[in-house]
Amino acid sequence: MVRKLPRKDVVIVGLGWTGAILAHELTDAGLDVVAIERGPWRDTATDFNVAYAPDELRYAIRKDLFLQPAQEAMTMRNNISQTALPMRDYGSFLPGTGVGGAGTHWNGHTWRFFPSDFVLKTHLTERYGASRIADLTVQDWGVTYDELENAFDRFEYLAGISGKAGNLNGRIEAGGNPFEGPRSREYPLPPMQMTYAPTLFAEAARSIGLHPFPTPSANLSKAYVNPLGIAMGQCTFCGFCERFGCANYSKSSAHTTILPVLMRKSNFEARTECEVLKVDLASDGKTAKGVTYVDVTGELCEQPADIVLLNAYGLHNVRLMLLSKIGTPYDPATGTGTVGCNYAYQTNASTQVFFEGKNFNPFIAAGALGQTVDDYNGDAFDHAALDFVGGAGINCIPTNGRPIAYRPTPPGTPRWGSAWKKAAKENYGNTLTFSSQGSSYAARGNYLDLDPTYKDRFGRPLLRVTFDFPDNDIRMSNWVSDRMQQIATTLGGKQAVVGRARKGWNSVPYQSTHNTGGAIMGTDPNTSAVNRHLQSWDVPNVFVVGASAFPQNAGKNPTGPVGALAFWAADAIRNHYLKNPGKLVQA
């Protein structure tokens, strides 16, 4: 039996960052909104109790806050010649679940992508010629940095980001990122107090002519009251940030920036532990009628709505589109179809510098507390004489000293026994780590579709991820590793170990939960799943908001642009769609 529920103006699938932003904006516009979230309600005091929040085993190792594979897994392979098998435990990336989504247990790096990133295909073609990107499927976003500036600004002020502007209305500011696009005003809060390792890193980088600056952070440098009137506290450098909920309201998330106001509204309701199975389409296949979900008791429910917003994690947005038959699935053989194409990731490598006689105190840390060098990121440098496009930010952001996972030892150290123990003790407070976070450019063979074999607990096919690092990205990352070597040498220390990216994406060790693409935005319905307003080309009362919209990924964390896109889509709905429901862009 299916329980039919009273109609709502808007149904939102997923109550994380984007779901909360859109719910807030659309309830402000007077709409009746319900958000359906498959994970549990969580609140700071109960779920992130200061006494048990800092529990490495529970949260970082056993991954208590994350989506559990028993609830939904994915299959993976590196290329179509392999048979995809389920990731029985999530490893390389860790999707979130529950109210607040992955925005609950993120680190808090909050970037704007470079202006050139939004017009990447046009920009690279003009600067280096079309042949330079022939083996990539990079695209323009359909929206420019200038158009998004206000949305970035709103997200940063909502979240109380701590940082230093590098480009204020075109004027380069000392101490900030000189490569960033122009911003209309300063960050809402000054940079965080710096720990020792990033301070040394910045000195070394500066001494060789680079431009280090404090990483923009959603760990707050000071107490803050955001434009919604919600108060946040100062980050206390506990070192339990990524993979953990914040116990003292000092890391921005839907919980700490929106939900207190959203929950006060009579035209908003959240339903948790309810899993949406599909978007229901009318018989013409061009109109969504609402969604079908399984509620907390196991009952099947139909929630009719005029507008359906997919605000789940990007990968789940794509899966829901495929399961609901919204748009045409991508076919890598022909390069046609749009849902599932341009899946991209992040191309990373890390460096360790071992010292003697230091007290780095790695446990005094925050998720986004550190220094970044953007001289080799995106197209901030000339690639004319190079054999790749793209780049990487080099970040010294020691996030924690949690000892189950963080026990650096030099190569050649045994993994156990007294010699291991001695090395673990010696190097724990003597190691400085930094890393490159590189762009991930779309390629024809990297895509998302439904797995033909493996099913979830409801019998629906799992999402299948087919991905490997494109050769371009490997060349890029290795070139940046050579630059990391220069910084490491400048830092001194007794030994430096510089990591190098390799082909063969491995789903086991953690790398990054920056999965992008699959429902990308663009200007052409033949090459994008949603238009520049995040509206489905095929089912115009469906909007798909998240990193799923990125046509490719930059060498930066995605949450800033994701937040900006949420405001951007909200504006489109409020200012255009509500006045004249239908396609906002005629193809």
Partner: protein
């Protein structure tokens, strides 16, 4: 969905790795699924880890326990830097982990078909950790018996114990899953030595003291700019620290 596939979500199962027995806090579990009007909150609501009472083995047999205690004491030997894995409670930790959702892979994807995978695809076996321990420990016991004239691992000289473990680590024994089992054992032993003592290992925070990790602290504001200075406070467990007692020194 049809009535033939009833679905009753186990919030506990998805939510918490710390409900290591049937005894779990129930307050927050009763949260309603529909929320409007206000942020939900209840007095006394808390979901702390639930430590298991000591004095018994939950999963290991006596022989298995003796063997695991001997193993963890070679992986993390007692020396002038710290107590060893046995005294630190690493075997107890592993036993208790196996008794909970971790031991049965309750939270992982355990549907078939089970096919041999590539290294990039991760563990693809059907066996959960409890079964892997049972089989791995049996294989290790058998290996020792055959190599050392019927002896048990715990009765070997330390050098011989190290040799056996090194052979498992390198996969140089007849048991095909040896290296995978050794990695599991090593990972769980390190977890036991460095996880919060509330889980049965890391006795007196010995693992944290070894490294200089101050534990479950949440406020370093008074120390963040004390660059390159030793951190002065002792480590802290979820359950507290000795200095909480009035008159402690």
């Amino acid at each position: 969905m049809t009535s033939s596939t009833p679905f009753r979500p186990s919030r506990r199962g998805f939510l918490s790795s710390t409900g290591m027995t049937l005894l779990v806090a129930s307050i927050a579990g009763a949260k309603a699924a529909e929320h409007s009007g206000t942020l939900p909150w209840k007095p006394f609501a808390a979901l702390p880890p639930q430590p298991l009472p000591g004095g018994r083995w939950y999963v290991f047999t006596a022989d298995e326990a003796r063997m695991v205690e001997a193993i963890v004491d070679r992986l993390i030997p007692a020396d002038d830097l710290s107590i060893g894995g046995k005294e630190a409670g690493c075997a107890t930790f592993i036993d208790r982990q196996l008794a909970g959702s971790y031991g049965s892979s309750e939270r992982l994807y355990t549907q078939g078909p089970f096919l041999p995978g590539l290294p990039t695809q991760g563990y693809q076996g059907a066996e959960a950790p409890v079964a892997r321990y049972r089989a791995g420990l049996a294989a290790l016991a058998q290996h020792v018996r055959s190599q050392f004239a019927g002896k048990a691992f715990a009765d070997l000289a330390p050098a011989d114990q190290d040799k056996v473990l090194a052979d498992f680590d390198a996969g140089k024994v007849a048991y095909p899953a040896a290296a995978g089992f050794f990695n599991l054992l090593l990972q769980n032993s390190m977890e036991g030595f460095f996880a919060d003592p509330i889980y049965g290992g890391n006795k007196d925070m010995a693992g944290w003291k070894l490294l200089g990790f101050p534990g479950a602290r949440y406020d370093y504001r008074d120390y963040v700019t004390a660059h390159n200075q030793p951190f002065p406070l002792p480590p802290l467990s979820i359950a507290g620290r000795p200095e909480w007692k009035v008159g402690s020194k």
